[in-house]
Symmetry: C2
Subunit: 440 residues, 2 copies
């Protein structure tokens, strides 16, 4: 069979990984898919830049859109990045020219996934993006193909290696967020401007793609409730540990009667669960579905080589004629994304309060919880030298005492009202900490 | 597009699950693959047997071979089981008649996989078997497709739910093997004759299929070194826990310079690893490969619904024309399976000895280890009331003292020679316990 001719737009880390993989394993993979993968054209910003793989023999394009339209390529591999600009232009040009596209660009998919899928479908070509979510983990194929006979109930995962690395080190070393972030930046595990990662935006992009694949709904990122990991303190990690939990930043999407609940936030997970042991820069994705039950995939969420593995998997699907609807369903069947309000979320909560040691303080807090119908599974008062605040034992007035509570299942609306009332009562020294417990 | 017409041979647990899935999710999956799946013919031993799904409207075949050859079906779904007899005859008949086959039959594949793949290839049809290994976990697709760009270094996993259930309960409850086995039998988690599971044969079948997919070698089961879980004692589980390990029955295959090392045995795994938390009847499979790094998949390893999910995934691949070589490579390119001798295995070991408390006993043991160049990472003497055996502290003569050692990396040949010499010296009360440590 004719080789599959590839045009590579973007020669950064992942582009280099793809060239390296094809150079290294090209013969073996041609044997497996009955067809060679050959890079014939490349495009990048700076032709003169020194690269680890020699591209001087390949056709060079200054303009990725020209590469996308070139008759010398069958497939565009878009590794430029970014939701707009030349990445978007090149992908649209390739699809409109009837060429399949492989991309690792989560921002592009999160912003324009549905219309790009429509273009691909109109031309009968593939838009593959295994590398866009969780790097080397084959979650897109698992949702599109392996679980295609199932109705998905929930999809969730650790989708950002930077956050997981930071939380793991906070856990292991007892250090604070700022200190570990600085270390992570020095080690190259976090960007100079870390907010895209640590505030949860990256997780939200990936989650929006997973949601669409899992539930057959249009991609929607804009209004995902988003909490990052900056507010997690060593006190939270220590209290979680004592109560049998680990804290992980999760992206979670589930189908409820009120729509799709899609949220990104730090989460308490039982520490004897497999997901709680997914540490460091590793990612994982779990899928609950009606027949397959709960499947979890763990692996490297980033890195040139792991990402290249996913890009090449997508290319081999195109080489062998494997094709499924981009987001699991033809675009005409994709449903609008109806968002369930976060206030309707049901679950248990971890609450950490910093309570002034005054008579009646704790009684006031307890009655605020009771007013909302919230019952407590456990309560821990972390002040070693005294009883519960307000219990009458001697203690210095106005030195706040940490109190940690785990609630039974309740609603987000109830917990928010209770915490607002507690704050308004003035018995707490700082904004209450609230971390959702994810039921496994 | 025309519906894909299915002939279902075998209406047991999994067959019932497949009928139920298609009844429940048939419309959704037709939307996803552009084609309906319709069961048109069935075959089972007893037509009169009451079933949960009504099959009275379907064409009945007393002989599964007649079903396989019937022009009324496009694909044979073989759920009879067993390496020979009607399962084999029906699969061969279907392939020879140019029909694709989906099977959950690991014994059939382990014994006859290569020749069946040759028949499928000759007719240009698919032989799919996602359900044959690890139930609902999509490991076959992951190896065949997602990791197709990689060279696999090692594949390993918890492949038998019965063993994992028993070991998990021994761990959690401190009970012995026999007691937990009896409970498991009563609860339906273990067969009346448990040896196929607890002695490792089932794991070996599944492992042989994984090995072939991972390394492109012919399937070979016969001479896999096999150790089951009957010899694991509460003392081992307790000692492992204190040393930071969990004991799991693993199937492991890796490529070495001397060939494929393929083995099934209880294994020590660090207890803070994700795989160590895969408990109960869950299965998992991990794959180390050159670009994707280490990927792990966790999920239900058995059960009607999870297995049906995998069968339907295979069917949807056939419905959409997705096709890859049966064992990742065309049969002509599959290499012979050259087995690395287990004595060449390199790794750390857990050793538990029951040592008579005599002067010189421990010195003799230590020198037997030293003779083989084995160094110790740690040593624990589990007798609370005394020092190391032979250390001169008072103790009742001939009451054996448990001694647990963890070795640094050594070879299987060295450890076996050392243990044989220790046994021959007569200082130990029973055959030494030896459990391999798997490096993660």
């Amino acid at each position: 069979m004719e080789p599959l001719k590839l045009g590579l737009a973007g020669l950064g880390t992942v582009g280099g990984g793809v060239l390296e993989l094809i150079a290294h394993n090209g013969e073996a993979l041609a044997g497996r898919c009955g067809r060679a993968l050959v890079v014939t054209g490349v495009s990048a910003r700076d032709r003169a830049k020194p690269r680890t793989v020699d591209v001087s023999k390949l056709e060079w394009f200054d303009d990725p859109v020209a590469l996308a339209r070139s008759p010398s390529i069958d497939v565009l591999v878009e590794l430029i990045g970014g939701a707009e600009g030349s990445a978007r232009a090149a992908v649209e040009a390739a699809l409109d020219a009837g060429k399949s596209v492989v991309t690792a660009n989560k921002a592009l998919l999160a912003e324009h996934g549905t219309q790009l899928a429509r273009r691909a479908e109109a031309k009968g070509v593939s838009l593959n993006f295994e590398a866009a979510v969780a790097g080397g983990i084959p979650i897109v194929k698992t949702l599109r193909e392996s679980l295609a006979g199932n109705q998905v109930k929930r999809v969730f995962g650790i989708l950002n290696g930077t956050c997981n690395y930071i939380l793991t080190r906070m856990q292991n070393e007892g250090k604070g967020f700022a200190e570990v972030l600085a270390d992570a930046q020095a080690a190259g595990y976090a960007e100079a401007d870390p907010s895209f990662d640590v505030d949860g935006h990256d997780t939200a992009h990936k989650l929006s793609i997973l949601t669409s694949l899992a539930f057959g709904t249009e991609i929607s990122t804009d209004t995902t409730p988003l909490e990052g990991i900056r507010t997690i303190t060593p006190a939270d990690i220590k209290a979680a540990d004592e109560l049998g939990y680990r804290i992980k930043l999760l992206g979670v999407a589930l189908r409820t009667d009120g729509g799709i609940e899609q949220r990104v936030h730090p989460t308490m997970l039982p520490k004897n669960s497999a997901i709680a042991q997914v540490d460091g820069v590793l990612n994982c994705v779990a899928v609950d579905s009606d027949f397959a039950g709960e499947i979890m995939l763990v692996g490297p969420g980033a890195g040139a080589r792991a990402t290249a593995s996913s890009v090449v998997s997508d290319l081999m699907d195109i080489a062998t004629g494997t094709s499924r609807p981009t987001f699991r369903l033809p675009v005409a069947s994709v449903e609008p994304h109806i968002r369930a309000p976060i206030r309707a979320h049901e679950g248990g909560y971890y609450i950490r309060l910093s309570v002034y040691d005054r008579t009646g303080a704790f009684a006031a807090i307890a009655s605020r919880m009771a007013e909302q119908g919230i019952s407590l599974e456990s309560i821990v008062q972390k002040h070693p030298r005294a009883g519960l605040p307000g219990s009458g034992r001697p203690s210095r007035i106005d030195e706040p005492t940490p109190v940690v509570m785990i609630t039974h299942e309740t609603t987000e609306a109830a917990i928010r009202q209770a915490l607002e009332a507690i704050e308004a009562d003035g018995h707490v020294h700082e904004k209450p900490q609230m971390i959702r417990i994810e039921k496994l």
